[in-house]
Symmetry: D2
Subunit: 387 residues, 4 copies
């Protein structure tokens, strides 16, 4: 079976997704093969270059043409956050399956509109919270579901980066609220909220704080994607998003949690960390060592208890690893996107109706994100709306 993919967006995520569609069916027995049919971006030159590089068969500059094209089965939305809702709703109405980058939307209202659209049109929909497909985190979920942690007491999550500490780093789209919605919050907290929900369950209440350390930055002549962008002028513009957001959370199951997202943690490059402490055991993960999962099992004999460093690379024992290399031959960041693409292709081959995290699920993450920002303004605890 062939799945004709049309992708919108050609920045960092365009590269990661192109690579995923290029390889998923080779490494995994998906029963379906992605055909890289059309790539779309308003920047004609950029999209042409990307298409040439990766073998996208044609290019578009208007997403409307892409989402309504007869030969497209699945629309892959890899644009800046601002455009997600508009494209996704159009794609849903055109009856296409949809993969949408995270965060799902600019706010909860938008997210709910997107959920409504996919439900109404009954299209397969999934959000690229790719860290759920890190084998170590998929294993973490399995361990929890096997009951090895028991009652959960604590979640401790942070996502630490350091790429905008330099005050001369320019005002890229990720630092502009009209395009990005928020800063570290939607970019990084979105991930760890999704991971926490995936592993521990729903968050009911939050109180948080948002901080912008550097308030003015050099303006770029043209807004471009990517992390390596350089400012072309000395003119400064206002940073309209957070540099860091921290918050406390209550979970439905009684656990409490601390969360932190920042781009100002010097020396932390992609420090996406989560620790979960339960009655019978604990788990800890750090994306910078994404092939490892730390597990403490309080059921071990007392003199042998310790934090176990599980190298999650066993083809015969660990999620997704049958597809890759022999034990100890680690995989990297991009494999999370390939793992996700393979799950999508498999779902489509099997005519599955849903795949997690779908838009409805991602809307719940959006509800937490929104509530944190509300709490930061109110300077008080806020209940997360049930959606």
């Amino acid at each position: 079976m062939k799945v004709n993919v049309g992708m919108v967006g050609c920045g960092f995520m365009g590269k990661a997704h192109s690579n995923a569609w290029h390889r998923a069916h080779i490494f995994f027995k998906t029963g379906a093969e992605a055909v890289m049919k059309a790539a779309c971006d308003s920047d004609k030159k950029a999209v042409k270059a990307m298409a040439d590089l990766w073998g996208w068969q044609r290019t578009e500059t208007d997403y409307r043409k892409l989402v309504t094209a007869e030969d497209i089965d699945l629309v892959d939305i890899a644009t800046p956050n601002k455009a997600h809702a508009e494209i996704a709703i159009a794609a849903a109405e055109a009856g296409k399956a949809i993969l949408c980058e995270k965060p799902l939307a600019m706010d909860l209202k938008q997210a709910l509109a997107m959920v409504k659209a996919v439900k109404k049109n009954k299209v397969l929909n999934v959000v690229a919270f790719n860290y759920r497909r890190v084998p170590a985190l998929a294993l973490a979920r399995q361990i929890i579901q096997e009951g090895r942690l028991g009652r959960i007491f604590h979640v401790r999550a942070c996502y630490l980066q350091d790429w905008i500490i330099d005050p001369d780093f320019p005002l890229v789209w990720r630092l502009q609220k009209p395009i990005a919605g928020s800063g570290a919050h939607g970019d990084l907290n979105a991930h760890i909220i999704d991971m926490a929900r995936f592993l521990v369950g729903e968050i009911t209440e939050v109180t948080g704080d948002a901080k912008t350390f550097i308030k003015q930055r050099p303006v770029l002549e043209a807004i471009t994607g990517g992390l390596g962008a350089k400012a072309s002028k000395k003119k400064k513009g206002k940073v309209t998003v957070d540099d860091a957001v921290i918050f406390l959370a209550h979970f439905r199951n009684g656990a409490i949690g601390t969360f932190e997202a920042t781009r100002f943690a010097q020396g932390r490059k992609n420090g996406n960390k989560i620790e979960i402490n339960g009655e019978k055991g604990s788990l800890a993960f750090n994306f910078e060592r994404m092939n490892e999962l730390e597990f403490f099992d309080a059921q071990d004999p007392k003199h042998l208890q310790g934090w176990r460093n599980i190298m999650v690379t066993e083809p015969g024992a660990h999620p997704y690893m049958h597809a890759w290399w022999p034990a100890g031959h680690i995989i990297g960041y991009e494999h999370t996107a390939v793992n996700l693409a393979s799950d999508i292709l498999t779902a489509m081959a099997k005519k599955k109706k849903s795949l997690q995290p779908d838009f409805a699920d991602a809307a719940r993450t959006q509800a937490v994100l929104d509530s944190v920002l509300v709490s930061a303004k109110k300077r008080a605890w806020v209940k997360v709306p049930k959606v």
Copy 2:
């Protein structure tokens, strides 16, 4: 010079302090030697046993007799929290130098009364926030004072233990509000607040949350100190303190922080961790590897930047280590108390008027502790009173 010490309390802290007085003048050139003059505890048998073991010259059962004894120069308060204020104020009025265990008091009001007493009576006073004397943390302070971190953005501190997860663990004094004041909060957050203040400066605002996971526990026949106490009956009593307290904080210098203290982090035995991220560098510490300090220096050449694991054991380069062993021959928990005792003896030999952290300093930690509990009740941010 001799310093006659009278110590009140004979639990875990009594052991650690006895050991400290026993050894400080041997390892350090203090100019003063502690004479272990008198030990005091209401439990006559326990205090006799401790005195015999450690060579305390006499025992008392009434602290009033001890603090007013002519031959006592310094009163060492190693009792449960409840008794700190009463003993300290009496000792101050008797003109004795005072070492008081942390947290300084049951609440800020008490703490301020203690500060008043020591100021009025002009006695040397110091609080046993012993982690300031971990060589790695003393080095951390030195690195910050050398300007190697620049502007501070983030503090991330937690103190994780797991010793009361078992619901059959009994209702020891540390779980009873009238004796302990609070639970993990005063016991563990007190330490990391002190460490954060020591390294980064004052905290101005907080919002927090307190949680008691297990609300009833087996009652002990007699209230005793120590961690190994066992319940003698099936009768249950109410846990009146927190099991965990988490909070967000603003620092005067613009940094933001997350804090967490818990006794429910399965697998974390003494996970007293702090990370500080600044513009030019970062630091990270974990008490379970207390001889190591992690330092990231963004001034290093780009291709060589990395988290440096400094083994803080160099006699010629690291605080306190000239007194101990050759490089790489690590020290342990108890050495923090010996280091502190040596600083006290040195201060007394030199007739110094003050030593940090003194009662006034510890009252500021108490102000943060109190404010967190207020915020948890109000469910909103609270300003920390300046004291």
Copy 3:
């Protein structure tokens, strides 16, 4: 420019090389693009399956046809060790560029014949000691060449795996001397000898020891590649290679070294480790954390000296990383092969005459391998022949 590749072999290495040719020109600006022209294996079905999966344009079952085909520019030898020499010499005589898997040959004699053939026919030749293209090891070499280690005293290298500890693991080709030449020695010591030579220089003398822990294993019906092969019968056959080889070494520059290769180190999955100690600094690497390099710089201020964990993922600062992902987004095992393929394509685009490690260089690794086995028999030190 197009480079038509013909590959022989379709096991684990066939997969890794296919992936490399598939992606090198996409991620790197090589100036040349690999065309996956023909795949060859004596197992017709297997090679057909691999060709279908990866898009090899045609298949062959006789390597002679492949190496002499007019449309082939480069022959990629990914077969078991036994066949390397024969194919490589034929390819050289046909004037093809050659990429040959490691170890280069079954023994030094064979290796020298191969060197002679490529020299005589002046074809580009390179050996797949892919770990030289791990960014962390390329950085290690750069650090040494920058003079940051000074005089080298020690090399400590081991390559630890555990996949054949089970006595029921079958007699795969890697355990048969006529096909593999040796066991852990040629498979694993070959890598760490190459790495040590790459970083520290030539080895002049060795003394070693070879051990076979399990001497009989279940026979496979058909000899197949791969690690997951299962025995189909209870019949046992003799293991004719080593399970582990350890040796001591002298380097030309005066350093001394210890080496160990084993498939019997329970819990070590791909523990390819090397540590180098010099007068001014030290380096340590472990493939299981291949994105990290440990560096100790004795030129740092004394109180700040420590082992630096360099996350070798900076696009702007670390070898090969400009091609991949943002900092902290790690790469995996397979990327080493892509990095190598990109260097080969670049070399061919630039008409470069040589690329390291070439056959002549790999013959020097073979000389060490052979000398170790001689020393193990003689039970004495043996000089490594200069080749």
Copy 4:
């Protein structure tokens, strides 16, 4: 019961032993208390200072007087290696119990004479291979004895230091063969040989290599102990011991091993490491993190297997830790000597005839040390004599 101790030697080891006798009976219920009766050293001033500091009741300058004194029960030999045999034999003949520093002797011949003396005189004798009393290594032995490793395949041991890399470091006694016997070999290999024998059993054959990197060093005016000694003149003298010794070993039980001792491993301060790989599990230890033991258990469910970091600080579960502090409150280097002293006092209180490692056991370590040096000269494998 009182045990009157007479100690000879007042360098680094004199300090560590004084501390041990000072504290053993306080922390452990030994049934016997050490009385620090007499300290002896040829340097009258130094021994006086040490006695004053630690409370040794009297001093001697002639060991003969000490070992024959009526009021001495146990002779503690903490001198440079050269003097061990002479003092120990005299002490044995005087009927005293003996604690002797490691290595037992200058060579095997001496060691055997010492064994003969203690056997003939039936005195309790023990050698200060203190690392056997690191709780983590005592636990390692327990794990092996519980059968959790099964058949042992590999031992990988090294002891890495870096304190004499500077060519201006002076010619201290440890660098002079007539006083020290050997260099890193007797100082450091002695420890890891003892540890390997303790954990895995006897070594039957070895082949090794000794290296002196810096052959001339500044002479000291007076030969003194300690690591911090400074050269007072520019005059140079010859280094007559090894700077590093590496060797391969065969164990009686079929395991093979690599060993390395060096004082030239830049950045390794006290890197006393051992790893043991068995059929069912593996263990790894590093003294720089002496409170931790790494354990891999291949009996765990496949998806949960990993290297467990056991924090060996549980009072109720780990050797020696009942005497110290709550879990997670680590101990340090000096505690190994206290643990040993407590075992000696307990043995004497119980009138035990022997305690391990006794002289006979240490002679077997000496046999390995000697054989390695013979093999280094012969440049071939050498059988270790059974003694």
